[in-house]
Symmetry: C2
Amino acid sequence: MNALNKIPRLFGNILAGVLMTAAAAVSHTVPAAAQQAIFTREGLVSPQVNADKSVTFRLYAPAADSVAVTGDFLPSSETDGWGTAALSEDEEGVWTLTVGPLESELYSYDFIVDGVRMTDPSNVHQMRDVRSMMSIFMVSGERGDLYSVNDVPHGTLSKVWYESESLGMRRRMTVYLPAGYGDALAGAGRRYPVLYLLHGMGGDEDAWPTLGRAAQILDNLIASGEAEPMIVVMPNGNAALSSAPGEGPDGLYPPMTRPDKTMDGSFEASFPEIIDYVDSHYRTERKPSGRAIAGLSMGGFHSYHISMQYPGTFGYVGLFSAAVRDVEEDAYGIYADSDAKLERQFSDGVSLYYIAIGRDDFLYEDNVRLRQNLDAHGYPYEYHESDGGHIWRNWRIYLSGFLRRIF
Amino acid sequence: MNALNKIPRLFGNILAGVLMTAAAAVSHTVPAAAQQAIFTREGLVSPQVNADKSVTFRLYAPAADSVAVTGDFLPSSETDGWGTAALSEDEEGVWTLTVGPLESELYSYDFIVDGVRMTDPSNVHQMRDVRSMMSIFMVSGERGDLYSVNDVPHGTLSKVWYESESLGMRRRMTVYLPAGYGDALAGAGRRYPVLYLLHGMGGDEDAWPTLGRAAQILDNLIASGEAEPMIVVMPNGNAALSSAPGEGPDGLYPPMTRPDKTMDGSFEASFPEIIDYVDSHYRTERKPSGRAIAGLSMGGFHSYHISMQYPGTFGYVGLFSAAVRDVEEDAYGIYADSDAKLERQFSDGVSLYYIAIGRDDFLYEDNVRLRQNLDAHGYPYEYHESDGGHIWRNWRIYLSGFLRRIF
């Protein structure tokens, strides 16, 4: 229970003050951390992924009446929802539960303490999904390993700002450059194909790099030779916003409402600015065979329309759980004449039109209609149907499949 | 209380399934989020920074017996510790407390619910300090504005991996490139000075960009003309580790002990590899007038020794709450002959030797001795003494001052 027991070799008395603070912080009283808090707060290990791939959760809460874990690995009465399971308290006030063994995956969970939902205070690994923080853990194996940082060459992941004249603001995007890209300081050197990878409604430029584990998947598939080295550009698809929450000039607390201009054509109309920025700042292949666009949910809708709106731009299209529905607002005429635009797109030639969706996705029927329309015109596409619904587990799988098939 | 009330214009029935999920998630029952959870979990606003710069905290916890907030803005019996204040419950089970008005600053806090310390579930803005997550908020004004993302040109912040032959691993660092750097695709173009900015014990390459608000401070000081455009390199100073927790091949759950090889000379001995990488991958000024090194606590210790170990390399040195103490381990002879190395350093000429520490810092007396030694030899330096102790509030202030004085 005492974190100090885990700190070997106290190294003379260097930083004794900080280490004393750590001792105070693990005393299980209400901590008042003098100086900088350091190392673990409570000395508990949670979660602990065991050798048999079961997982043990722990929380020190002697005054609590109930502690439960809710997570995406627990059986739920709702499709793809999170189930809940109670932890048991020992005589020292530590609540514990072991679940599983679990199949290899990246999992999410929270604790519920006397009715209050919270992240696991012993676990610094968290992700934000739209407006909620959740704790995460990884179970190794096929998918867990693909989503992990392995001992392979790593690409560079950057937060980059570009100027959008049409939207009237500086906007933030995430850019992945493959390992080896930066070795050519002179700027001459190899050109790379570019995947534009779009998030869903409520997401932002941080979604694919965090929830989607995009950099890890890319590093690993490129290292194994399963994917081509490529640049991946992850812009913010909410045309009214500059960036993820707290990362732009609106400050940490802009109104937490659904943003405007998500599916009204604004983002699609502004998209050439992003391509221009990328082609003028990076060593890109500037032709359809060197450009792909893919997205999930709203980002699938964006990819569907952007890829047909700009003929001769994208050779590869990926629609993951795509929200391919009719919308009424159309600020720039983006959604008009889609039959004619599709015909032009497919007559120009599409190297890969990749549709993926889960059987339980609430957008399943919309994707049935999408396929019926493509079939009716004889447009070729690849279709991947999976278990489950509208969740990141599926989007990581669809991305991994798409990356193996492009360029 | 209902997040759906805050979502304007439901946009036809698009994504109705997701929005229904949001409705379930705000029902204040134990949530089982079907499909993807979206928008706010509980519909509460917390924290709320009010017009008079008071701050209101809120938590929905009808089953809890006690809710308190602990934060660095509350009076504490310990120097620089976090005080604690109780929230009061209303008839609907919402606990509330308003504190302040507070002076402009970036603040940290947690809730304590029935004795369990947790981040604020209504606040997606968090930072990790070593092994603890904490919620944050910003009060605008002089310092808060300097630490905020403002409507100014922004630099690019990247996670970059370099190969360390001496340490036998790939290692991760954070690199800030100033706005305008990337405009020269060809690689010719302007060269920039480089600041190497080092973290403290327990920190990593994510510390300065998060707790230190380094990118925001740089963007703002460069935009106002108070600092020169510069590249800032933030490496990982724990020579036994590749990266921040969870970002390297050790996985999400390496042993959470104090790392080896923090102050045994390994990092200092390997430092030329970092300089070589930066000089061969970025358009840098490769001379002492174009290189600065600064660090906090252990990073100040590193800066002290690296700047004297490699003569003719750094023109500017910043020691923030530096852990300038004698150590016994010295794997590479780095700490030997420091009097002679200091003499060489100052006879070569140092443009700025900047020492800053708080009056309550547990390393204060060590810095008195450091200054006495410099005084005894007549070595010139600049000294800044502040209120408070060994905390990030001071390190942000010291960085802001140092940036205004270099290059």
